[in-house]
Amino acid sequence: MLAVARKEIAGYFKSPIAYVLIGVYVLIMSIYFHPALKAGYGDFVDVLGDIGVFLIFIIPILTMRILAEDKKNGTEVLLLTSPTSLPRIVIGKFLATFTVFLVIVVISFIYPLIVVIFEGVITIQLVGAYIGFILLGAAFCAVGVFSSSLTENQIIAAVISLVIMFAMWIADQYAATVGGVLGGIMEWISVLSRYKVFTDGLLTLENIVFFLSFTALMLYLTVRVIERRRWVQG
């Protein structure tokens, strides 16, 4: 499991992918942080709330190759005939993408630090907002890993995960219009409204459980997809 994760993390930082994605995201954070700072309140909680949506564009590019490439290059055989079990391989792959995301999180600590240095006010809500941000990243990484297992084409994998994430992001806006059971499901799956709760400074068990179990579900489905393909492929 850790062997797979280590190898993938090294792979990310050997190619320009990780640097470009991290760089772009840090740039976006700075763009959002600047007006907050200028207005004098420098509250990073709001910035975290605003920049969550950009993960929809960053994470699919990060995760698109993670399983699709193995399938395309035939290295899947190596993984599946090794004594490391399939769930462990999938978790290892997930951990690699999540680690790159965590690098973004760690770099973003610089903004609250700036606030502290210039004797601004940091609220305890920031901790909650960060927990929400990390959980959101984990869930999106899992969506990306899942999408990557569906195809051997990286672009298609990226598009699938982008569509899933985007649908989850906007679901609650249309939930009321749709109404009924479907509307209920859309409201339940909406990550935006759940993420908002975190950035409002509320740590609720329900939302933490939602994100964790959603991540686990996505990884479970990934294992099932690969398992199933072993049976039907020719």
Binding site: L2, A3, V4, R6, K7, A10, G11, K14, S15, N73, G74, T75, E76, V77, L78, L79, L80, T81, S82, P83, T84, S85, R230, W231, V232, Q233, G234
Partner: protein, 319 residues
Amino acid sequence: MIEIKNLVKHYGQVVAVDDISFKVKEGEILGFLGPNGSGKSTTMNIITGYLPSTSGTVEVAGYDITTHPEEVKKRIGYLPEQPPLYKDMTVTEYLSFVSDLKKAPKSKKKSELSDIMELVGLTDHRKRLIDNLSKGYRQRVGLAQALVGNPKVLILDEPTVGLDPKQIVEIRRVIKGLATDRTIILSTHILPEVSMICERVVIINKGKIVAEDTPDRLSASLSKIAKLNLTVKGDKDKVLKTLGNIPNVRYVTMTTKAEDSVFKYVLETGSDKDIREEIFYKMAEIKAPILEIRPTAATLEDIFISVVSSDGIKHTEEE
């Protein structure tokens, strides 16, 4: 060491492997022959646990692949048809990753990897990116990968494909050397390879075993088939007719036109009787000079066709 019983694999409606059973003893090298699409790679993929079988069992060292996949996978080194290489890694990085993946003991990793690289001749290339290696060297990396973790069973799917003649000789020597304390299943298209390396041969066609024997006995039963290449000057219709009338000639055809009124023919005889003299006199009769007469060694295809058409039929009759 390896026991395969009534193995069946369906891909939807297509039957890729149809009730195959065979055993491989400890320390034995088994040659696995068959044309493309005969189910060779599928069988190997099932033995290594990459694909599940539709029915039947595979046991390696007493462990069943479906109930104890990890115990089996620990004992197998697999070189698939296409070596599973990460091109963005160097040879050492890649083999080190494979070692971790196979849960090989970490303390001995460094010495183990350098031994393996020495054995397959990769030491000078250990710091090179796999992407920059030639096909032959990638094949060596694939073989090295299979050896990591010192598995007692090796499954090698066409290990010498893409290598130059010198490398082929080297790799064959390596494989032969490995066999002292390992069990090996090796698939190939090259017949001399089988007689050089393998102690026993299994030939499969359309998912069924059509022959199983030692290479010597197989070739003995096949030496009956002889092919002659002829180059004859003269009218081609007349030559074809005359050749066709010689007894024991099973089949004759004109292949190419070499020069003006010079044609090349391929001729197949049904018995082990040498008919070259007879051809000489017959051609002399019609005043068509023979410019070249050359027997061809039986290729895998010939042997294969013969096995399918004789032993295969006998086999079904016995049933």
